[in-house]
């Protein structure tokens, strides 16, 4: 059974008096341990779709089912805490916190505190190969290292679904490839579902499946 499933997702935005349909009835499934690349040109609706998968936006119509349970509009934050991990194109790390604390804080938000949070944060920071940089602030890390911290933050807390938005867009080719391989290895190793929104053809090489979106529909 799919860990993440969407049924007839539609999303409309109001632009002035005009209603603009961005997503047009998308059905989509991801299984546990599966890596899916979501490709599409700019304006195709892939980030909007990712936001809906990530329970950040609600669809105009249709349903998102996570771990067998339909997502209720009023429990989005709870679902994000429990089931989802995010990696952003801009990393979105907290500049005042060290690499380790960035991960630990995300765990705190998920309700994991004190020693449990510290142990789990150290585990994932080690897993992404930043054990020796764990006390560095983001400004002291390279782009690739920042993205590794972001991956560690997404992995921390055993969320079964990981969502990544253009994770290699701000990295050079070599670092991007390393980050993707690391991401794949960790997702597979921990049996997490991974959806990567991307323009980057390298992502195809690590994905189990590539899904294309165009004009708000899967093609």
């Amino acid at each position: 059974m799919a860990i993440l499933h969407t049924r007839s997702i539609e999303k409309h935005f109001q632009e002035g008096r005009e209603v603009v349909p961005v997503l047009k009835g998308i059905d989509f499934d991801v299984d546990r341990g599966e890596i899916v690349a979501l490709e599409g040109p700019s304006g195709s609706g892939k980030t909007t779709f990712l936001s809906i998968l990530g329970c950040i936006l609600t669809p105009t119509s249709g349903e998102v089912v996570i771990e067998g349970t339909p997502v209720h509009e009023k429990r989005l934050a709870e679902v994000r805490r429990r089931s989802l991990g995010f990696v952003f194109q801009q990393f979105n790390l907290f500049p005042s916190l060290t690499a380790l604390e960035n991960v630990e804080y995300a765990l705190n938000v998920k309700g994991i505190k004190n020693r449990d949070a510290r142990v789990e944060a150290e585990r994932v920071i080690e897993a992404v190969g930043l054990g020796d940089r764990q006390h560095f602030l983001p400004r002291e890390l390279s782009g690739g290292q920042k993205q590794r911290v972001a991956i560690a933050r997404a992995l921390a807390g055993s969320a079964p679904i990981l969502l990544a938005d253009e994770p290699t867009a701000n990295l050079d080719t070599q670092v991007g490839t390393q980050v993707l391989e690391l991401f794949r290895a960790l997702a597979k190793q921990e049996n997490r579902a991974l959806v990567i929104v991307t323009h980057d053809p390298k992502v195809r090489t690590i994905a189990d499946r590539v899904v294309k979106i165009q004009d708000g529909a899967l093609v």
């Binding site: 936006l57 194109q89 801009q90 979105n92 907290f94 500049p95 804080y105 705190n108 938000v109």
Partner: protein, 376 residues
């Protein structure tokens, strides 16, 4: 222990933190100085009342405050002394007189005249000479504060009061009135002799000490019955009346409230502005907090904690500044009284002020769309 994003984020931008804390400290210092000065002035307004060991004060009808005394017959005291419950009663003259200085200048002095000063434990801080000696001749004891207006003086010197040379036989410190006119202490009969026209056979107050266990209200009622053309106040009432006179007549209270209000306003604007700017600059971070599952409450906690830290740090700095100002103020004869309750009140006020300032940011945070984390 959980990661303290609020504190770390606040201290990350040290300059902004300093500006925020300075804003609060400014408001706190202003409140301490204004209220402290006000309390200092007010304590002067009733200082002699607070020091004189009298339970009741009999005054001429409608005397506005202790400094602006009116006369009434000194024989009234007999009706007071004869009352049960009265342990002792004495006449007290408080009167403004002119003093001719060796320079030829004429200055004013506020004379306190009693037959026996020790009996009323007044004045309290005699640093040179004996009050008992005042009864022995044309003598006076001067408060050191007179030096500012009269120039230097020493025990053994003479000054001319209403045309009569009086020898200075002692000095006091910290005996002051709200009017800032220097206080002079002399024998009751001498004061009457100096101004026979107004004071002969007259007094300005009757001080009453109650017998142990006496009912103050009952004694007061009896005095009122016997002296229907006088007022009778307890020490607390009389002190309050004297202070209120100056507050009402000088607009001092209003001035203090306006300054305190403006101080708080400046503080609130600085804190609100810096917190709001900080919130706007950290909007993506707050979006991230929401995206990873934190609600508005999580961010409110961060902002609330930052506001509280700014308040406490600003309070500490402001209180320190006010404390450091005390000796400076004292040098220019300004008393800064900061009671413990004021510290507590201002600390609570600073926290409330900063949390109020943070409310503006709360509104902004509530409208953050977590989808902004996907925007480049």
């Amino acid at each position: 222990m959980s990661v303290d994003l609020a504190t770390r984020s606040l201290l990350h931008d040290k300059l902004r933190f300093f500006i925020t804390v300075s804003g609060v400290a400014f408001a706190v210092t202003l409140v301490f100085v204004q209220v402290g000065l006000f309390l200092g002035l007010m304590s002067n307004a009733s200082l002699t009342i607070d020091q004189i060991d009298a339970d009741l004060w009999v005054t001429s009808r409608n005397t506005p405050n202790v400094d602006f005394a009116h006369t009434f017959p000194e024989t009234s005291i007999k009706r007071v002394r004869s009352l049960p419950g009265v342990a002792r009663a004495d006449n007290l003259i408080v009167w403004f007189m002119n003093v001719s200085l060796p320079t030829g200048a004429v200055e004013g002095t506020e004379v306190y005249a009693l037959e026996n000063f020790e009996r009323w434990n007044f004045p309290q801080n005699v640093v040179e000479g004996e009050l008992a000696d005042l009864r022995r001749g044309p003598y006076m004891v001067l408060d050191d504060s007179a030096k500012k207006r009269w120039g230097a003086f020493a025990v053994g010197e003479h000054r001319e009061v209403l045309g009569r040379r009086l020898k200075i036989i002692g000095r006091t410190v910290d005996a002051k009135s709200f009017t800032t006119t220097p206080l002079t202490f002399m024998d009751y009969r001498l004061a009457q002799a100096l101004n026979e026209g107004e004071l002969r056979g007259n007094t300005t107050y009757i001080l009453v000490k109650l017998a142990p266990g006496a009912d103050a209200e009952a004694v007061r009622a009896e005095i009122r019955k016997r002296l229907p053309y006088n007022d009778v106040f307890t020490r607390a009432e009389w002190a309050k009346r004297s202070r209120s006179y100056w507050i009402d007549s000088t607009g001092l209270g209003l001035n203090m409230y306006i300054t305190v209000f403006l101080g708080c306003l400046v503080g609130i604007v600085v804190v609100a502005q810096t917190l709001y700017t900080s919130t706007m600059e950290h909007i993506r971070e707050f979006g991230t907090v929401k995206a990873i599952g934190g609600g508005n409450g999580e961010i409110y906690k961060i902002l609330g904690k930052q506001a509280t830290i700014a308040a406490v740090a600003g309070f500490a700095l402001g209180a320190l500044q006010a404390f450091a100002l005390r000796p400076v103020m004292a040098k220019i004869d300004l008393k800064l009284i900061i009671p413990t309750q004021l510290y507590v009140f201002v600390l609570i006020g600073a926290v409330v002020l900063c949390l109020t300032a943070a409310m503006i940011s709360f509104r902004k945070v509530a409208s953050i769309d977590p989808a902004l984390v996907f925007r480049t």
